[in-house]
Symmetry: C2
Subunit: 335 residues, 2 copies
C-alpha cells in the first residue's frame, strides 16, 4: 500500500507537503507541487479513506434504515436518497431490518461504530431500542414517517389526510353513498393514521346519507382477498372501497373480479401508495400517491443540512398525498 511517505521520498519533500497538495490546504510552490503530483502518478497512489476519516472524524458515509426491501414502497425512496448522496460524495450503508429488532440493532450498532456521518430511519417501526441507540450516539439522523409527533428531530411526515379527503370527496361526487375502508395491520402506526384520517373525513358526511364501515386488512394481497369475502356478504354491497394500500386494493379487485363482480361498474376501488403495479393491473387502479422519490431526496437533504450545521433548529417536512384517477373508479350505479 503506497502512502504519503513513499510519495514524499520520491518527491523529496515532507509528507506534510504531500498532504497539503492533495488537500489543497495551504500554498505549495508550483515546482514542488509538480514533483509531488508526478510521484503520485508514478506510484499510482490511492488515498486510504479509513485513515483520513480516523484523523478528521468524518466518513462521508450515511446509513439508510428500512424495514423490508421487498416492499415496493422502498425502491424509489432508496433511489432518491442514493442519488443525492452520491452527488454529494457520500456512500450509503443499507440496513434492512426485516422487521427484526435484533437484526436491526446489530447492523445499525455497527454503523454507529463505523462512524457514519448520519442516519436516515425510514423503517416506520417503533423500535424504541434502535432509536435509543441512535440518539445516544449523537449521530445526526432524520426520521421518515416515524409518526411520533412529539419527537424533536428532523422529520418527514406524510399527510395522508389530503389524499384520502380527495378520494372520499371524489367518490361522493360520483354518487357513492356506501363507502368501505380496508385497513392495514392494526399495530402499524401508519395504518392507524390512514384509517383514522378516513374516519374523520367521512364522518363529516354522515348526515348526507353517506355510510361507511372498516374492514381489517394487513397491507398485503391476501388481506384484500379476505376483505373481498366480507364485502360480498354485505347487502347491499358497498359501491366503493378505499384501501389502506395498493396491494390490498389489488387483492380485493382480483378477487371480486374472479367472482364475477365488475370493477369499476359494480364496485369502485381506490388504493394508496401508487406502486408501479397499480398502473399495470386491469383496470388500472385509481390510487392516492406519495411522491417517494422526492421523499428520499428530501430525507437526505435534511440530513446533509444537519450534518453541515449541527445547531440549526430541527426541520420538518410534510408530504401531501394526492389522488390519481385511473380506471378503477366510476359513477355509482345505485342512484
Amino acid at each position: 500500500m503506497v502512502n504519503y511517505n513513499d510519495i514524499a521520498k520520491i518527491a523529496q519533500v515532507s509528507s506534510t507537503t504531500v498532504s497539503h497538495v492533495i488537500n489543497k490546504t495551504r500554498f505549495v510552490s508550483p515546482e514542488t507541487k509538480k514533483k509531488v503530483l508526478e510521484a503520485m502518478q508514478k506510484l499510482n497512489y490511492k488515498p486510504n479513506l479509513l485513515a483520513r476519516s480516523l484523523a478528521t472524524g468524518v466518513t462521508h458515509t450515511i446509513g439508510l434504515v428500512i424495514s423490508d426491501i421487498k416492499n415496493p414502497f422502498y425502491p424509489e425512496i432508496i433511489q432518491g436518497v442514493e442519488e443525492l448522496a452520491v452527488k454529494s460524495d457520500y456512500n450509503i450503508f443499507l440496513c434492512n431490518t426485516d422487521y427484526d429488532i435484533e437484526k436491526g440493532l446489530k447492523s445499525i450498532g455497527a454503523l454507529i461504530r463505523k462512524k457514519v456521518d448520519g442516519i436516515i430511519i425510514a423503517s416506520s417501526q417503533a423500535d424504541k431500542f434502535l432509536f435509543k441507540e441512535i440518539v445516544e450516539s449523537t449521530i445526526p439522523f432524520v426520521l421518515v414517517d416515524w409518526n411520533e409527533n412529539k419527537i424533536n428531530a428532523d422529520s418527514i411526515y406524510f399527510n395522508f389526510e389530503s389524499g384520502i379527503k380527495e378520494a372520499v370527496e371524489y367518490l361522493i361526487s360520483l354518487g357513492h353513498k356506501k363507502i368501505y375502508f380496508i385497513s392495514g395491520p392494526k399495530d402499524l402506526k401508519t395504518a392507524k393514521i390512514r384509517k383514522n384520517n378516513f374516519i374523520n373525513i367521512i364522518k363529516k358526511y354522515e348526515n348526507n346519507n353517506i355510510s361507511y364501515k372498516i374492514i381489517e386488512g394487513n397491507h398485503k394481497i391476501d388481506g384484500g382477498i379476505n376483505a373481498a369475502k366480507e364485502i360480498e356478504k354485505e347487502n347491499p354491497m358497498p359501491t366503493a372501497v378505499i384501501c389502506s394500500n395498493d396491494l390490498t386494493a389489488i387483492g380485493l379487485m382480483k378477487t371480486l373480479q374472479a367472482n364475477g363482480i365488475k370493477i369499476p361498474d359494480k364496485v369502485s376501488i381506490i388504493g394508496l401508495d401508487n406502486i408501479m403495479l397499480s398502473e399495470i393491473v386491469s383496470p388500472p387502479l385509481t390510487t392516492i400517491e406519495l411522491e417517494r422519490y422526492l421523499i428520499g431526496k428530501t430525507a437526505i437533504e435534511l440530513l446533509l443540512n444537519r450534518i453541515n450545521s449541527k445547531d440549526i433548529p430541527k426541520q420538518t417536512r410534510y408530504f401531501q398525498t394526492k389522488l390519481i384517477i385511473r380506471e378503477s373508479t366510476t359513477i355509482a350505479k345505485n342512484l
Copy 2:
C-alpha cells in the same frame, strides 16, 4: 470519545490489556479483567471500528453494485446478500449505478478507498472501467450474471437455456406451432443470451413444422405494448409468445387483452423472471423463474469464501431457470 486510555486509567492497567480483554486475544487474570470490564461499563465505552480497521486492515464491510434499484429483479437479490452479510457481521454499501458509468465509477471508487473487504457486482453492465478499477484494487469480488465467460473470477452464471427449453417444449406439447419471441434491448448481454437460447432450442424443432420469429423489445412494459401491435398484424397470428422478461410479457398481455384478444385462449404467453407482479396480473403469468434470493445468498457466500481464503481456486455457480406454469398458457386452438 472514550478510548482505551480512559479505560486503562480507571482500571489501572495498560491499554494493551484493555485491548486484550476486549478481543479475548490473550489470557487476562479474572481480577484485572473484571476491573477493565467495570471501567468500560462505567464509561459506556463504544469501540471505534474505523481505528480498528485501520490497524487490522479489515473493515467488515462489503459493496453491492446494482444497476437499477427500481428493477424488480433486485430487491430479492439484495435481501439474500444483506441477510447473510449481517449474519456474518458485515455491513453493506449499496451502489446503484443507474446505468451511469460516471456515477458508478465515483461511488465504487470511494468504496475501494474506504477499504471494503469485498464487492459483489450485479450490475450486469459491461462497465469495463469499473471492472478495471476493481481488479486493480486487488479487493475480492464476485460477478453476478456478468456473462464474460473468459473471466477468471468467482462468478455466478444464469442458465436461461434450461427454463427456455422447458417453456418451448411445454408449448409444443400443448400443440403450438407458431411461437414468437420478444427480445430485450439488443445491447444488453443477458437479453442477447436469452434470445440466442430461444433460437437454438426452437431451431431443433423447425422440421417438426414449428415456426418462429423474433420481435424486438426493450425489457420494459412498453416494449410489450409495441410488440403487441406487430403481433396483431401477423396472419395467422402466433398462438404463443415467449418474452425475454416479465414486464414485456405483461405489456403484451394487457395490450392484446385490450384489443379483445383472449389470453390464453387465443394466445399463450410466457414471461421470464417471475417478478412478484407476474403472480398478480390476470391471468397469472406462466413464467421462467430465477431464484433471486438464493442467487444473492450464493453471491455473498462466494465472496465470504474468497475473503476468508484468498488462494482457493476461483469458484463458479450456475443457476438453472425453471418453468412455472400458471394460467397464461393453454392448449393451442389451431389444431
